[in-house]
């Protein structure tokens, strides 16, 4: 088979520094001028507090998977909520089982710029015995090229980063 060769050059935002442009003698032709497009860099470090959800991240650093349970109606959240979405009562922290099942998944072959270098990666939503909601996580140890519906329902277990980054990716799941 003949190899398919690329016929385009990849574009980038690395431009040339330009200090002037041509200008017509006749200003009536200005409306036909092509646009000037410049690079406008922007970066910022946020001071982001996890607030009342902070113990969840502290839990991950200590190899504990936490959820919350409503003191009013007993609803159990696998991603923490300190106020119950069902009845508005306060919730208490509980420990979740570290084994669950894949409720759904996808393989991301592309992603937001921040994650492009990690593609392909697998996202999964995990269901836990006794919890009413799910947890979004990364699934590790599955072949991205072998994605199929049989992954739904698969038993998985939690693993934790030893050097915690205080991100939800401090926990990930692998086939149990």
């Amino acid at each position: 088979m003949r190899k398919q060769l690329k016929t385009t050059v990849a574009e980038s935002t690395d431009g040339t520094v330009l200090y002037n442009v041509p200008f017509p003698k006749n200003i009536e032709s200005l409306k036909e001028m092509t646009p000037i497009i410049i690079k406008q860099p922007y970066s910022i470090d946020y001071i982001h507090s996890y607030g009342q959800d902070s113990p969840w991240f502290a839990g991950l650093a200590n190899k504990k998977l936490l959820g919350t349970k409503c003191t009013g109606c007993g609803y159990v959240f696998a991603t923490p909520k300190l106020s119950c979405m069902e009845c508005g009562s306060e919730c208490d922290w509980i420990e979740l089982p570290q084994e669950g099942k894949v409720h759904s998944f996808t393989v991301c072959h592309f992603g937001a710029e921040a994650f492009l270098d990690q593609c392909p990666f697998i996202l999964g939503l995990i269901e836990f015995e006794g919890a009413n909601t799910l947890l979004l996580t990364r699934l590790i140890g599955l072949d991205p090229e072998e994605a199929n519906l049989k992954w739904v329902g698969m038993k998985v277990k939690a693993k934790f980063l030893r050097k915690s980054q205080f991100k939800p990716t401090d926990v990930y799941f692998v086939p149990a």
């Binding site: 759904s104 998944f105 072959h109 592309f110 996202l123 979004l136 519906l149």
Partner: protein, 437 residues
């Protein structure tokens, strides 16, 4: 509350990048078109319009706060009342309903709602990152924030729950791209096959590039008016305007994190029974509770019993082929679980267009005759208003005049539905439009 009429609209051609104009200039194109279609001078319009609503989603794309007022002053609308409405992908639909409230409440007689998005100001993957910021930045975004990934997980569950297939999804892509072939405003006008869709680059399993809408630059505008407002516009124009009434509006919400969605009972439409859904846990991540709630409200308001029979067409938020299927079910165009079957049946296709597919059923209620988001593009703040403009032209019977082609005119259309949808189904609006003869 007073009756509200949709009297005019305009859309800029949606395209990958509009570097030739700033967003204000693109918005002006859409408003100019709407005013011209009313048959009055712009100056007269400025005298008659009481205020506006600005519809745009992200401040990140332009790195500009208060873009709304920059459009307002460029349009010559200062010092009239105005404010911005924002609600993710549903921004356009929410803004349309905000305009409705301005008129229905008696606060204004005539209101212009303009929407825009300039997504070309960043590269595609940075754009995907900005969009993914519309997911919980503590729990969801850092795991691999990517909307196509979120929608892929939802449809995987839909496939697991109901047996929906990727070929059924591909039917939506073929239909919407093919419809857009006759829509000069659309960004992607393509004749595709099921195989093209499946062989296209995989983005988030099982969604390929042709299952997903594209980023776009564009603007859209509509003019809403009360009975009194219409009279004033007609007097200025020296002609009767073909009116379309907003017969009903509805809006629903759901949790930001889709992992938080409950697993309960289906809120039923009049023709459904609890026994239809004995083993279905709802909405889970396979269905949009916000869409169902919006439909229930709008149908009650507009007195719709059976949407498939009572509506002549639907323009819905098909950011993904899968979400068109999910939305069929939320809107009650079929029972939950039958969306995939409906997608491939032919019932939601346009009559008289050769899709190159073997379809079992005749068209009943065309969905996304314009080409939808998948083919028209999705400049977020403009999208929901674009739907309103195309629906207006359908109900006026003026598609040929505006598209220079009548292939997409739904013959004798009396009632249509527009549906705008945010996040993973967080805000959803449904508005029902009715031609007044």
């Amino acid at each position: 509350m007073r009756d509200v009429y949709l009297v005019s609209g305009g859309v800029s051609k949606f395209t990958k990048a509009r570097h030739d104009k700033t967003f204000q200039g693109v918005v002006k194109e859409a408003v100019d078109y709407a005013v011209k279609d009313l048959g009055i001078e712009y100056k007269q319009f400025l005298e008659l319009v009481d205020g506006s609503v600005a519809s745009y989603f992200s401040d990140h794309f332009q790195r500009q706060l208060m873009s709304g007022i920059m459009a307002q002053d460029y349009l010559g609308l200062c010092p009239k009342p105005s404010h911005r409405v924002e609600g993710g992908g549903a921004t356009g639909g929410l803004s349309f309903q905000e305009g409705w409230k301005n008129i229905a409440s008696g606060h204004m007689e005539t209101c212009v709602i303009y929407g825009f998005e300039t997504m070309s100001h960043v590269e595609t993957w940075k754009g995907n990152e900005f969009i993914a910021l519309a997911s919980d930045v503590s729990f969801d975004f850092p795991v691999g924030g990517f909307y196509s990934g979120y929608y892929a997980m939802m449809v995987v569950r839909h496939m697991e729950e109901f047996g929906t297939t990727v070929e059924q999804m591909a039917h939506i892509s073929v239909k919407n791209h093919r419809n857009a072939f006759h829509n000069p405003y659309a960004q992607k006008r393509q004749k595709l096959t099921i195989e093209d869709v499946r062989k296209s680059t995989m983005v988030a399993w099982p969604l390929t590039r042709l299952d997903i809408c594209v980023m776009s630059d564009g603007a859209a505008a509509v003019v809403l008016a009360s009975e009194e407002g219409v009279k004033k516009l007609e007097k200025a124009a020296g002609k009767t305007l073909p009116k379309v009434k907003v017969a009903g509006i509805g809006c629903g919400t759901d949790a930001m994190r889709m992992s938080d969605r409950p697993h309960k009972k289906v809120p039923l439409l009049p023709f459904e029974k609890e026994s239809d859904y004995k083993n279905l846990k709802y909405p889970g991540i396979h269905s949009f509770r916000a869409g169902r709630s919006a439909a229930i409200e709008a149908y009650k308001h507009a007195k719709i019993n059976d949407p498939m029979q009572d509506l002549d067409f639907v323009e819905l938020h098909d950011a993904y082929t899968s979400s068109e299927i999910q939305t069929y079910e939320d809107l009650g165009m079929c029972r939950y679980g039958q969306g995939g079957e409906l997608a491939a049946s032919g019932k939601t296709f346009m009559p008289g267009i050769d899709y190159g597919l073997k379809l079992k059923e005749k068209p009943v209620c065309p969905v996304n005759p314009s080409g939808g988001l998948i083919a028209c593009g999705h400049p977020v703040g403009a999208t929901g208003l674009m739907q309103a403009v195309f629906a207006l032209w359908q109900l006026q019977g003026t598609i040929k005049k505006h598209f220079k082609d009548d292939a997409l005119q739904v013959k004798g259309a009396k009632r249509g539905l527009i549906h705008s949808h945010a996040g993973t189904g967080t805000y959803v609006t449904v508005s029902i439009l009715e031609g007044v003869r």
